[in-house]
């Protein structure tokens, strides 16, 4: 695998839908590093990504847009900076059903702040349809407060059209 200069990074908390989103876009089956969850992640899913997910979109002329998903757990944050090198933009997925999705959003915006300022980002709120409260406005407020030019959309990370739309939104701000 050759790491090209065109990369889109997918990040977000555990279970936010990063692997599913990359699967929607990728021209190849996602190369994952899922292992059986043994920590608090087990409450959300049986398997979790520990290094990264990888897929790519092949353009007409053969050029590749690499898609990287970061591991969700904070203890793997040393991977984040490495994965962002050469990235063109960030897709941040926020799980609306997590215990504090707005705090999750703030955390990732801060963690990837430099990368976002240098490139661009979009936020996809996932599982909004089964969350007890809408967090859209709160996430929007966080973005406005930080002054980032970031579009916020509610999506289903398993739905190709939704993920396509999210990447369209990202492209618009790049």
């Amino acid at each position: 695998m050759r790491v090209g200069e065109h990369k889109i990074i997918f990040t977000g908390s555990v279970g936010a839908g990063k692997t599913a989103a990359i699967s929607c876009l990728s021209d190849i089956p996602v190369v994952g590093t899922d292992v059986a969850a043994t920590d608090e992640t087990l409450n959300k899913k049986d398997f979790t990504t520990v290094a990264m997910d990888y897929g790519y979109i092949q353009l007409e002329d053969g050029e590749l847009i690499h898609l990287y998903g970061t591991p969700g757990q904070e203890r793997f944050n040393f991977m984040w900076e490495i994965l962002c090198q050469g990235g063109v933009g960030l897709v941040l997925l926020v799980d609306a059903t997590s215990s504090d999705p707005v705090a999750d959003c703030e955390f990732y915006l801060k963690a990837f702040g430099k990368f976002i300022e240098e490139t661009g980002a979009v936020i996809g709120i996932t599982r909004a349809d089964i969350a007890s409260n809408s967090i859209y406005e709160q996430v929007q407020d966080v973005v406005i407060e930080k002054g980032y030019p970031i579009a916020v959309l509610e999506i289903d990370a398993r739905n190709n059209e939704d993920v396509n739309m999210l990447v369209h939104a990202l492209m618009a701000v790049l």
Binding site: L59, I65, I144, N164, M165, H168, V173
Partner: protein, 304 residues
């Protein structure tokens, strides 16, 4: 459905409407303590005028149904002296004032005024189902489809009739069966796209630069079908741009760009950038990246 705003005690009853006992209960004059009655059925069709939930009723369904009621309970206001003012922006440079109750030049203006002034109105345009617009909860309840709302917005000969309504009437209508509740911003957006005819706001020009503060909240289906709005939004999220520059950058029809400009400004989602030098506003992306992005867009569109 006995509803009393001043009495906060009460119960929520979920009745199995597929049984004789359940039907009997629904037919009775119910206990005053029962504030909300929801029918549970094998199919989600109305029964004796009560909202019904399809079996099995999940907690999520129940929460959604109750949320709808709560949202409307909280929207009660005194609308007796409501006078709507359409202000096109925080700078107050352009404003059109009119009294709710009269027919108005544009359906769009009605929605914008309700949204801004947080009033409640019923908008009738026969033969279509009336629109019950709640500026407090930011919803528009109707049985009319979006396509029919487009037709109403385009209608030039038969103007919609607007009447004020009280919170109780709005609640009764909005929570009745088969009524679809749309976010008011979505309706405003869609109406503007078909009904504003590309006319720029008063005292604005093709060279007025604006910057978007946040993206309008659209339903997914709408966004999927209108990627051009994502592009327009993205461009002025990142930098101040004029209508002329937006049109040049996107190659969309000037009417579409103007309607977009009008709308985000009217909804308070954008602000004028007076300090910006319009000649320097639009920093074009470098050619290589622009090419990459356009090829990626092409690929995504073909994949869809």
């Amino acid at each position: 459905m006995p509803l009393s705003y001043n009495d906060t005690s009460g119960e929520v009853a979920l009745i199995n409407a597929d049984t004789d006992v359940g039907i009997s209960y629904l037919e009775e004059e119910n206990n005053d303590q029962v504030k909300i009655i929801l029918a549970e059925r094998a199919v989600s069709t109305a029964v004796l005028g009560f909202r019904s939930l399809e079996r099995p009723v999940s907690v999520h369904d129940l929460v959604n149904a109750l949320s709808t009621y709560c949202k409307h309970f909280s929207s009660r206001i005194d609308t007796a002296s409501a006078t709507a003012t359409i202000a096109s922006g925080s700078d107050g440079s352009a404003s059109v004032s009119q009294t709710v109750g009269n027919n108005t030049p544009l359906l769009l203006h009605e929605f914008i005024s309700v949204h801004r002034d947080k009033t409640l109105i019923k908008l009738e345009c026969a033969p279509y189902h009336p629109l019950y617009i709640n500026g407090i909860s930011g919803t528009c309840a109707t049985r009319a489809s979006l396509a029919e709302i487009h037709i109403i917005a385009k209608e030039t000969e038969s103007r919609p009739v607007v009447t004020e309504i009280d919170a109780a009437e709005e609640l009764n209508q909005a929570t009745s069966n088969d009524m679809v509740s749309y976010p008011i911003g979505t309706i405003i957006w869609q109406i503007a796209m078909v009904g504003a005819n590309g006319t720029i706001l008063p005292n604005h020009s093709l060279d007025t630069a604006v910057k978007l503060k946040s993206l309008p909240r659209f339903p997914r289906e709408y966004m999927r079908n209108h990627p051009e709005f994502l592009k327009l939004s993205g461009l002025i999220l990142k930098q101040s741009m004029t209508i002329r520059q937006l049109q040049q950058a996107t190659q969309l029809d000037i009417e579409v760009v103007t309607d977009f400009y009008n709308l985000v400004f009217s909804l308070g989602l954008s602000s004028i950038d007076k300090s910006a030098d319009s000649a320097e506003l639009y920093k074009k992306k470098n050619v290589e990246r622009e090419s990459l992005l356009s090829r990626l867009a092409k690929k995504l569109i073909s994949a869809a």
